[in-house]
């Protein structure tokens, strides 16, 4: 039986839960493969040798993550980045917009309830800039999403086990959405506390909908629930940099009416899941080296 391992780095565990959300099919899968390492369901704690497929959940945030990641890469034939944190850095990537020392200082010394403050340093790993795992190891396949669809994880596993490359959606969330495409240019910016008009494209109404630059595969669940897409599945194949792409699109669509688009102020919308893999991150890293 082929050996599968699910290894977790900086993550919230949601991708692992998405995997478990295959529900009844989990029992079938467990008969067909050797699930040798899965931190939520299997007792083994060290990473086994001769792994056929390693699913890495989570991005890199500490030196310990890098060690685990490299160990997994050396022991696995195929390494898959599972979830947007592993693929792009995820929401924690937004932390890279802030100075790390100031951030640690705030959280461990300056919050309203902290009395004795100290930045942890004993028997704990070193905290570094958030990064997708591809910054440190070669990644064979990516399953994006926050979390990915359960079916998507399972289908990818099934393909990889057969020795095939899984297929991946190549369209955008916009293509899957029933509300679009935009028929008019947005007149003003809207925030989600304002209820939208029904059956009308959210981008057209001025919401920061990331659908046009985000990879398809989720069925546009969020726009169908009345909330703009926040880009959780990472950049669409043609949108090399998710934030730069949506900024470009928004200026094109709305520059006459809306002057306040700004990567700086709106990075939480434009780069929510992909900041750590953006071109801005590359530039900042170069800058940090240069400063030294």
């Amino acid at each position: 039986m082929k050996k599968i391992a699910i290894i977790s780095l900086m993550s919230d565990g949601g991708c692992h839960i998405a995997f478990l959300d295959i529900h009844e099919e989990l029992l079938q899968l467990l008969n067909q493969v050797n699930l040798a390492h899965s931190y939520m369901t299997v007792d083994r704690k060290d990473i086994p040798y001769d792994i056929d497929i390693a699913l890495i959940e989570g991005g890199v945030r500490t030196t310990h993550d890098i060690e685990l990641l490299k160990e997994a890469r050396s022991k696995a034939k195929i390494l898959v980045a599972m979830g947007s944190c592993a693929c792009f850095g995820g929401i924690p990537g937004l932390s890279n917009l802030y100075d790390l020392t100031l951030s640690l200082n705030y959280v461990y010394r300056e919050t309203p309830t902290t009395i004795k403050g100290v930045i942890p340093h004993e028997n704990v790993p070193t905290v570094i800039r958030v990064a997708p795992i591809s910054r440190y190891v070669k990644v064979d396949f990516q399953i994006p999403g926050c979390p990915p669809e359960s079916k998507e994880i399972k289908d990818a596993l099934v393909s990889l086990l057969k020795g095939e490359i899984p297929s991946q959606p190549t369209k955008t969330v916009c293509d899957e959405c029933k509300l679009g495409p935009p028929k008019k240019k947005p007149k003003r910016l809207r925030r989600i506390y304002e209820p939208p008009e029904p059956n009308t494209c959210l981008l057209e109404q001025g919401y920061f909908c990331m659908g046009s630059v985000t990879r398809a595969g989720c069925g546009a669940k969020c726009p169908h629930a009345g909330i703009p897409c926040d880009g959780c599945r990472g950049p669409a194949p043609k949108a090399l940099d998710q934030g730069a792409s949506i900024l470009n699109a928004l200026i094109t669509l709305a520059y006459e009416n809306i002057k306040e688009f700004s990567l700086k102020r709106h990075s939480a919308y434009f780069y929510r899941y992909s900041f750590a893999s953006s071109i801005i991150e590359d530039l900042i890293r170069k800058r940090l080296v240069e400063k030294k």
């Binding site: 094109t252 520059y255 071109i279 530039l283 900042i284 890293r285 800058r287």
Partner: protein
């Protein structure tokens, strides 16, 4: 000390600036040789990603030339470009790159001298600012 020759990427709209620069070869006016020209169908084709990539790859300065207001072949591509450049300048400041390293000018289709002067002025500006601090470094 070896004199710093700035590497400048210039996006030239084919309807105005590019045609003008083309003519430079025939007339005896030359534009500075450190300017690398990229022909685009419209200044509006230049995306924020192109500009960021140019700096990421070590360009010391980025120039965009578009048509005069009201003169864009695609109606308002040049106006969109102006907005993009404005946003990018703000972004460059945050990343520690001087926003003067990016500039956009609107030129008509006849004025070679004006074009060349802009290029010379910009080259001088970049020479004073010095090389791109992010050149060839990786974190």
């Amino acid at each position: 000390m070896k004199e710093f020759k700035p590497t400048i990427i210039a996006f030239l709209c084919r309807w105005s600036a590019y045609g003008v620069a083309d003519v430079a070869g025939i007339s005896k006016t030359s534009y500075p040789s450190n300017i690398r020209i990229i022909k685009v169908p419209c200044s509006g084709r230049v995306s924020p990603l192109h500009i960021l990539q140019a700096f990421n790859n070590g360009a010391d300065g980025v120039l965009i030339f578009g048509c005069l207001e009201g003169g864009c072949h695609y109606i308002d591509g040049n106006l969109r470009a102006i907005h993009r450049v404005k946003q990018l300048k703000e972004m460059l400041n945050i990343m520690g790159l001087n926003s003067d390293r990016l500039e956009m000018y609107l030129v008509g289709s006849c004025n070679l001298n004006k074009l060349v002067n802009y290029m010379k002025e910009f080259t001088e500006r970049i020479r004073k600012l010095g090389p791109n601090p992010l050149k060839l470094k990786e974190g």
